[in-house]
């Protein structure tokens, strides 16, 4: 933690702000995952973790290390790129899996057929 002491004030403030924001968002996202009542709502919770939460923290990290090492340290960009490439895939696959599982198992309480996009197989 001695490393943090070397940081100039302006950078520390920026980093701290980003961190606090990111941390709060991460926490809220996870809270959503825990608290929301059904799966189709819960899946929206982590989305904020992935985007804004992760984004804030990564930017904070970039600023922090760039200032600390007095050179541009921006390889966290790679992480962001990877997240942007993988997160949609995971979300859509889990979502689709959930929809068809619920359809097959005819679970009425999950909201799988809300909005008339999907129907239970024998109710068509």
């Amino acid at each position: 933690m001695s490393a943090a002491a070397d940081l100039p004030v302006w950078a520390a403030v920026i980093v701290a702000a980003l961190l606090v924001l990111g941390g709060a968002i991460v926490l809220i996202g996870a809270l959503g995952l825990m608290r929301l009542p059904n799966f189709y709502q819960r899946i929206h919770g982590p989305a904020i973790t992935v985007t804004l939460g992760a984004g804030c923290l990564l930017v904070a990290s970039m600023v922090y290390f760039s200032v600390l090492q007095e050179r541009p340290v921006i390889h966290e960009l790679i992480i962001s790129v990877f997240i942007l490439m993988t997160a949609p895939v995971v979300a859509m696959l889990i979502m689709r899996a959930a929809v068809y599982r619920d359809l097959r198992a005819r679970r009425h309480d999950t909201g799988a057929v809300s909005g008339n996009v999907y129907r239970f197989p024998d109710e068509e």
Binding site: A30, L33, P46, F82, V90, R96, A97
Partner: protein, 92 residues
Amino acid sequence: MTTVLELAIGFVLVCVILAMLFCAVRLLLGPTAQDRVLALDTLWMCAMLLAVVLGMRFGSLIYFEAAMLIALTGFVSSIALAKFLMRGEIIE
């Protein structure tokens, strides 16, 4: 002012780990498999963020690789699980 930063880092750590805890709760409670998969995926994400934050806490760059690795391959088990749920087998 540096103590602010330290406090902020501490706060983020708490947040991230609490987030992991929430994920774990969802992981334990389910109730459906897709919930668990979602929770696991989020847990991976939190772990990645934890690595980033630990790197900041210790002021070291070696934590970056772990984070990058999670970002790059952490999704694989999630999509494998999702595909298993959807198709019954992951490689057809």
